[in-house]
């Protein structure tokens, strides 16, 4: 079926009149009215939509038909399955699974909107009684899944579907409906129309921190606002993390924890030592508790890239590796859930929330007997802009110094340390963007991001290499049943080593682009000049 066009019928009666008029003007057969139940699926961050496609599960007697269409509505793949899949890898090996994996990797598929439609229509025929066009009048209800499951009426719409090679007929039908019947054409695609009804719009979900700070605000107050926003982000992602909706919830949770740790560790002489002493180790532990799970996620996400490099014969081995990883991941997830459900975490949440709302208790402030220069909270009252600029300058200098010290033979650990330095700098820039000139900061983040991506890829590849080596060790070298898995591991290890070499070579270029006098000048300028209107 080729791309379709739609017309608003206004009401069912009007729609039926238009169909009847169409039946008089064109040689056609009417089709039996039917009820169609269909659910659109996507990942929480709309990867299918972003990939220019839609995935829907159509309820048919005895099972469902999955339908992957492109945005114009042409069917790319169909697959009849017993039940709706949660992940692409739940599906039997098929072109649809391959195409879907390419779009969503190992993200979870979630229902976006459910439709319950009544359809009636016509087949337009030529003199050989061959179908040369289809016209469908549909109306019904849509339920958005984020919408409190409230059903909304889908207004009657007439859709004209062209049959391949007979586009002219569809054009004539369209003209008839628009000009003879006066029905207005509908511009947007079907999914967008339905989503709009259900109060949803496709779009990204961003882990970016949107926070407006006053540059003149005292550092302690500003820092608490930042920490409060991060804490909210953590709490928001906790539910998705617990339900294992998608690896991205854990990722965002971890970023919030890491930013919190960065803010606590980097912004010195602002918070009282008692506060730091109580919470820093706790957040460090929390960060560590999520490390292994995230590594396994990274590894599973990386398998899709590796899949491309494998031949048909190694695929079963890859599947064995994937299920081993999923098994380990489940164990690790249970462990993390144990931490989140523990008393320690509950106490941390309660105490941290109280501190963020009320500030430190009085006795936790400056300890008596400190000389003025030694006051551990001596920057607490200074404007946040000044304090942040100072920290950012330092973090920047550290990245430059450490990066320059990395030669071609430097060990991976040195690169890893540089990555952490870079992260600290990036977090500071992001947390305090609003007290500087936004565009100037964005101009700094860009070259840094390129460097960080390179270092991040190096790290991810190392993680994958380790996990693969672990997996290979657990395989019995003598057992013929694991031969495929061993062979696939060896192939993958080779491919990963190759990519790692390439990324390592790229590092020099990425770093020198960051370690550039122009970037240095931009740093100086951005940190000097405040936001417009600020002294």
């Amino acid at each position: 079926m080729d791309p379709s066009r739609a017309f608003a019928a206004g009401s069912q009666t009007r729609g039926r009149q238009a169909l009847a008029a169409l039946a008089r003007a064109f040689r056609s057969q009417s089709e039996r009215p039917q009820r169609v139940r269909e659910a659109y699926l996507d990942t929480f961050d709309w990867l299918i939509h972003a990939g220019g496609a839609t995935l829907s599960a159509i309820d048919e007697r005895g099972g469902i038909v999955l339908c992957l269409r492109d945005r114009e509505g042409s069917v790319r793949h169909r697959l009849r399955v017993a039940g709706a899949p949660s992940f692409a890898h739940d599906l039997p090996a098929s072109p649809l699974r391959d195409a879907l994996s390419g779009l969503v990797g190992c993200r979870r598929l979630l229902p976006v909107v459910r439709l319950d439609m009544r359809r009636s229509g016509l087949r337009v025929e030529d003199e050989q009684q061959k179908t040369v066009g289809r016209v469908v009048l549909e109306h019904g209800t849509a339920i958005g899944f984020d919408d409190g499951a409230q059903a909304r009426r889908v207004p009657p719409t007439i859709e004209v579907a062209a049959v391949r090679g007979y586009a002219a007929v569809a054009t004539r039908i369209g003209r008839f409906l628009e000009h003879e019947q006066g029905l207005p054409p509908v511009k947007s695609a079907r999914l967008e129309r339905v989503l709009a009804l259900a109060g949803r719009a496709p779009g990204g979900r961003s882990s970016k921190l949107r926070l407006e700070l006053d540059p003149a605000q005292p550092a302690e107050e500003a820092l608490r606002r930042v920490l409060r926003a991060l804490f909210d982000t953590m709490r928001l992602n906790e539910d998705g993390l617990r339900r294992d909706v998608d690896p991205e919830f854990l990722h965002d949770y971890r970023v919030a924890v890491r930013r919190t740790r960065s803010a606590l560790g980097q912004v010195k002489h602002v918070l009282p030592p008692a506060v730091l002493g109580r919470f820093r180790p706790e957040f460090d532990r929390l960060g560590e508790a999520t490390n292994v799970l995230r590594d396994l996620d990274v590894h599973l996400l990386g398998l899709d890239a590796v899949r491309e490099t494998l031949g048909e014969t190694d695929r079963p081995g890859l599947d064995a590796l994937a299920s081993w990883l999923r098994h380990r991941r489940e164990q690790e997830r249970q462990r993390l859930l144990g931490v989140l459900d523990g008393d320690g975490y509950a106490a941390l949440v309660a105490d941290w929330g109280r501190f963020l709302d009320l500030g430190a208790e009085p006795h936790a402030g400056a300890a008596p007997g400190h000389a003025a220069g030694d006051d551990p909270t001596r920057h607490a009252r200074r404007p946040i802009r000044e304090v942040a600029a100072r920290r950012i300058r330092r973090a920047y200098r550290r990245v430059i110094a450490h990066g320059r010290a990395i030669g071609d033979t430097a060990p991976p650990a040195a690169l890893h340390r540089l990555r952490i330095d870079g992260k600290k700098l990036r977090y500071l820039l992001e947390l305090f963007t609003s007290v500087f000139d936004r565009e100037a900061i964005a101009g700094l983040v860009k070259p840094l991001k390129q460097l960080q991506d390179n270092l991040g890829d190096l790290n991810d590849l190392a993680v994958q290499q380790e996990a693969l080596a672990d997996f290979a060790r657990e395989l019995d070298a003598q057992d013929p049943a694991t031969a495929a898995a061993r062979r696939a591991s060896a192939t993958m290890l080779g491919a990963i080593a190759e990519r790692r070499r390439a990324e390592r070579e790229r590092f020099r270029r990425c770093f020198s682009e960051f370690d550039d006098p122009r970037v240095a000048a931009r740093f100086a300028e951005a940190l000097e000049g405040g936001r417009a209107g600020t002294p």
Binding site: M1, E60, V75, K130
Partner: protein, 272 residues
């Protein structure tokens, strides 16, 4: 894209019925399927009620000046498209010869369609010619309907000899018995005998049946007008076996994952 050519040197052996029904079953199972009617008689085109004749000069098509894509017509069945026959196909040999590299030409023309379709069925004209050479170059498998008669088996031997003499890439050859009438003693004997079989036969066979002949009246695949009939069941078995043999995911999915497979067969495939 898996390419299956339904081929026999002999005419009147059930090639078109096989191509039409198998292509329909592929589409009904949910894969994007194209059927190219290469026979100037245009029987497959007739079965799908498509007007035969392509609005293009044959030499332009063969030389790739008119992409095949523009000539494709949707059938009445979801997921099944047709490249209609043209009476000019009777000169396809000459056109191939003039275009140069005739044996690789067909594969070359089909290249751009590979991402659009999962399965391609070629309904070939009877004869052995440059066209069939070109088909051998493009197909993953030749599905050879064979009537259990001495003459039919002889043409199969001719095909085997021809392929053996060729140094080019050879498609997999999958003969099966077609128009089998067990009331005839020769049919009975030849179906049972293992002699004179240059290639192993598929297990599935198509019985002689008036249902197959009725395709011309209904102008539709058997699954549409006689679902569940003996002929319908036979074509489904043949389809499954052929898909497995050409390594289509559908073949082993249907066998390996029983639930999934049964579902493929539970209904003749709804026509939307």
């Amino acid at each position: 894209m898996r390419t299956v050519a339904v081929f026999n040197i002999k005419g009147g052996v059930g090639k078109t019925a096989t191509a039409v029904n198998l292509a329909y079953l592929s589409a009904a199972a949910g894969v994007r399927t194209l059927l190219w009617d290469l026979d100037p008689q245009g029987s497959a085109t007739f079965y799908f009620r498509v007007r035969d004749g392509i609005d293009a000069k044959l030499k332009h098509v063969v030389r790739g000046k008119r992409p095949l894509d523009e000539l494709i017509r949707g059938t009445d069945h979801e997921g099944l498209d047709l490249l209609p026959a043209d009476f000019a196909y009777r000169h396809l040999d000459l056109a191939l010869a003039h275009a140069g590299k005739p044996r690789a030409r067909l594969g070359h023309l089909l290249g751009p369609l590979a991402s659009r379709y999962d399965h391609l069925f070629l309904d070939c004209a009877p004869s052995m010619s440059l066209v069939s050479e070109s088909v051998f170059g493009a197909a993953d498998a030749l599905l050879v309907p064979t009537i259990p008669t001495t003459l039919s088996l002889r043409t199969l031997e001719q095909l085997a000899a021809h392929l053996a003499a060729s140094e080019r890439r050879r498609p997999k050859v999958l003969p099966f018995f077609c128009m089998v009438d067990l009331r005839k003693s020769m049919h009975r004997e030849l179906v049972r005998s293992e002699e004179r079989r240059p290639f192993p036969f598929l297990r599935a066979s198509i019985p002689y049946s008036s249902t197959v002949e009725q395709m011309g009246i209904h102008r539709a695949p058997i699954a549409i007008f006689a679902a569940g009939s003996e002929a319908d069941r036979a074509f489904r078995e043949l389809w499954l076996e052929a898909m497995t043999a050409v390594g289509s995911w559908l073949g082993w999915a249907a066998q390996g994952e029983w639930d999934f497979g049964r579902r493929l067969f539970s209904r003749p495939g709804s026509v939307e």
